[in-house]
Assembly symmetry: C2
Homo-oligomer: 285 residues x 2
């Protein structure tokens, strides 16, 4: 945020114009704790801050009111679990798993279709909010180039192990197998090619810049404890909602053990994770 403000201020200085005022809108779900966010804003920040409640899979700002939108590690969360995944009569019914690994053709297709629909709504919403020529910056996890198997990425493997940990709990009789069958992660990690196609089809943006980000984490050895805690922090709410809070301690004991057992695979796999960086420009039509 501060970077953008400084760059624009510098630009105005170079063309001898008075520095503009900046208005920053922080968007998140209604249930995000906006007070923590607001208390974290430096008191003498160079911008006016506002909190905007609501899903980004909808309009959250008036037409043409935005010059730059930034979406950081959020777009891999789908608006919902694809319906077919939970339909026992569908070929995409995802029994015994909580996500896709990459081999289940119908399951992956159901996830991808949901991703396409969601991205289309996201892009159209932002297109309406942005001025012509406005920028949309996206950072999100994706599938590495040339890879087809999601489990071959660190993220995919983490999901697969969370699924098998839940199945282990089910086999001990602590939760039912049905409750695992009906639990699915609303996430999709697209390939850059898939992302490009969705953006092209939506037709509101031109792609100005594309990159793969290098995370400093990738150069560190795999840390079992930290990873287990991080996954728990991210998945806490969604697991609690479906299974209840009482299973969490036990689940993450199993989960941590399984991470340890797969240490070598992870230590190689997480090097493959791809974080996409895209700069899109709103067309003037």
């Amino acid at each position: 945020m501060q970077n953008i403000v400084e760059v624009v201020a510098e630009k105005y200085k170079s063309i001898k114009q008075p520095k503009p005022e900046f208005h920053v809108f922080f968007n998140d779900h209604v249930n995000n704790d906006f007070n923590i966010l607001f208390r974290g804003i430096p008191p003498n920040s160079d911008y006016f801050a506002a909190g905007v409640p609501g899903s980004f899979y909808s309009r959250v700002l008036p037409k043409g009111s935005l010059h730059l939108a930034h979406c950081s590690y959020a777009l891999h969360w789908l608006s919902q679990v694809p319906k077919e995944i939970q339909d026992k009569n569908s070929p995409a019914y995802n029994k015994g798993k909580i996500h896709y690994t990459g081999t289940e053709k119908y399951v992956v297709k159901a996830y991808f279709d949901q991703f396409q629909r969601d991205m289309d709504v996201f892009l159209t919403s932002r297109a309406l909010e942005l001025v012509g020529g406005g920028l949309l910056i996206i950072q999100m996890p994706g599938l590495p180039s040339g890879e087809t198997m999601f489990t071959m990425t660190g993220a995919g493997l983490l999901h697969a192990i969370l699924g098998s940990s839940l199945m282990e709990l089910a086999k001990s009789g602590i939760i039912s197998e049905e409750s695992v069958d009906s639990f699915n992660l609303p996430q999709y990690h697209p390939s850059m090619e898939e992302l490009g196609k969705v953006i092209e089809r939506n037709n509101n943006f031109t792609v100005e810049k594309v990159g793969i980000l290098n995370h400093p984490m990738k150069d560190l050895p795999f840390d079992v404890q930290r990873t287990s805690l991080q996954v728990r922090a991210v998945m806490d709410m969604i697991l609690t909602e479906h299974f209840g809070e009482h299973i969490l301690d036990q689940l993450f004991v199993i989960y941590t053990r399984k991470l340890q057992e797969n240490y070598d695979v992870f230590d190689k796999q997480i090097r493959k994770d791809a974080d996409f960086f895209l700069v899109l420009k709103r067309k003037f039509h």
Copy 2:
């Protein structure tokens, strides 16, 4: 809010223009619970909502970004207790009381001076945020016309009784007299004349409309229990910060008793309370 949206939408309809989109900014202190606010916004409301953290005695929005500002029962809260009030060497030192009743010349003046400074900052901040011709609507409690004694209003009497209840606690040795001397309410209830003068001196607004609001409460008999609970809800935070939470129950037992003892006075007095309603228009300079 809904009223304003409907009226403007109706206006656009009458001139055969498409309905504009509305952006509503809700401002409050950083520590206000914005999540409760956000959850209270109807999901299909006709406007986009945003929360704006920060004191209205400062800029909270970019220049010229606002068409209509509405400040509802908040402007009688000063930005701080006037310094002289707490200075033992000042003629305005407010020993044994927590507010002014209207007779203490220097105390009232210190409060009024603070009010003037605060209002000036408030008006200048809003003037910068509003477009030329934009409206500023103010609702606030004030001193009834022709009245000079604040204790002759319901609000003033409530404050006086809160002060004497604190002094009773001090006399029982539960809190120190010094702690009461150093506690003062950061509130000022101006007369319409004072308000007019401050607005004129600020010179950013013309007064379009002035009124005294009629509260339905005024026609009901004085309710001791309800009033005591309401005052406790409003003063809870400020009393807890200064005296600690442990005195509250005891304090409001005394307070309720004193309200009961003064029932007849209150029953007459609250009829005199004045709630001001002003519509100001941002000048084009």
